[in-house]
Symmetry: C2
Subunit: 198 residues, 2 copies
DNA sequence: CAAATTCCGGATCATTCATTCCATAAATCA
DNA sequence: TGATTTATGGAATGAATGATCCGGAATTTG
């Protein structure tokens, strides 16, 4: 079912991925339209707005792309073939691997690209906040599963450990940006999980 | 030794404190000159530049003010009247108290105000990065002191725990911004310190 | 007093920002 | 073919950005 009209001269999907990397690296506000236009192959303003609507709309798409790919942690946490502890460990390792990879910007897009914003961009900050909440809730669910299983002690510490893990996870975004090595962060992650052993 | 010339019509010290709160709340780039000028009592551009030099210079002053007051954690960590564990606990509690206080912006200025920047402001990001490093190094020193004391096990885990604690600490900035309660974060902090008990 | 010094109000600067508009180009549909 | 639809190139929009400049006001010094 070929679309009518003049065909687009660039690949929209890969453009979104490139834009995602820009927003990830520089944040929403520091990424300017001219940054975007030149990175996405030197397209014109008209092409940009026709394809994406606005800078905010593109950011929303990029954040969704991020959460579905590089920032995807929920699937691991919900994987019932893994014990809760294993799932948490895989999740942490996977996150550290991506956050410290040299093939993409350092740190976590959901943390870095939308925490601090101008009042005009409060909606952007909220998008990022919702993205962060998704992971926090998934951690809580994973721990609840472990408690229900009998795998983890039912001593009421799960809520606290959710925040402990999630705060650590978010702190990783800062550490990665500050140049802390992957190996050092992995050792920390394993040490953190030792709280579950007692 | 009274200075010659027309006296300044505003209190420079309190202006720096107000600017600090602005940068803390909105970050360096989202805080505009007109934000600053109106918040600091509606002063003119001439007065602003005469008093502070530039936006960056004022930010540097504000960050130093922050690190010397609200963000001050080093003194606690170096307090030899406390055990290493006590010092770490007081440090975490103090940080959580400030980061979740309603009397000042949520979270940590060193984390939130200067992680993500435009290329033009790379020097601002570096100022913030250096400020973050100060605390990380102080945590490492505190743990080293505990090991040297015999208070903590000399099993080589101190480096990892430095990062575990520091990542958690930096993650608190995000959690505070996301509205997580002080009490929940305090419980997490205590749970995290339980790693030292074994 | 006058000279020197510092500060202030307000206009102004060149840039950059995100966005819109218009004429034209390239495709499909009838 | 001609009508319709969509995309492109490039100019233009108004608002906001950080910073500078000038004339005058307020103060100390001599």
């Amino acid at each position: 079912m070929a679309r009518t009209g003049r065909p687009r001269e660039f690949d929209r999907e890969s453009a979104v991925r490139q834009a995602m990397n820009l927003f990830w690296a520089k944040g929403f506000e520091s990424t300017s339209l001219s940054d975007l236009k030149s990175t996405l192959g030197g397209l014109s303003s008209a092409s940009f707005y026709a394809a994406f609507g606005s800078k905010k709309a593109l950011y929303e798409e990029c954040l969704a792309e991020y959460m579905g790919t590089c920032g995807e942690l929920v699937a691991t946490l919900r994987d019932e073939s893994l014990s809760a502890r294993e799932a948490l460990r895989v999740m942490l390792w996977r996150s550290i691997e991506i956050q410290t990879s040299r093939d993409s910007p350092l740190g976590c897009m959901a943390v870095l690209s939308g925490i601090v914003c101008d009042d005009d961009n409060a909606d952007v900050a909220e998008l990022a906040r919702n993205a962060r909440k998704v992971n926090r809730d998934a951690i809580a669910d994973c721990l609840a599963r472990g408690v229900a299983n009998g795998e983890l002690a039912d001593d009421g510490s799960a809520e606290a450990f959710t925040l402990t893990l999630d705060s650590f996870l978010k702190g990783l975004a800062v550490q990665s940006r500050d140049g802390i090595s992957r190996e050092a962060l992995l050792r920390s992650a394993d040490q953190l999980l030792s709280i579950l052993d007692r």
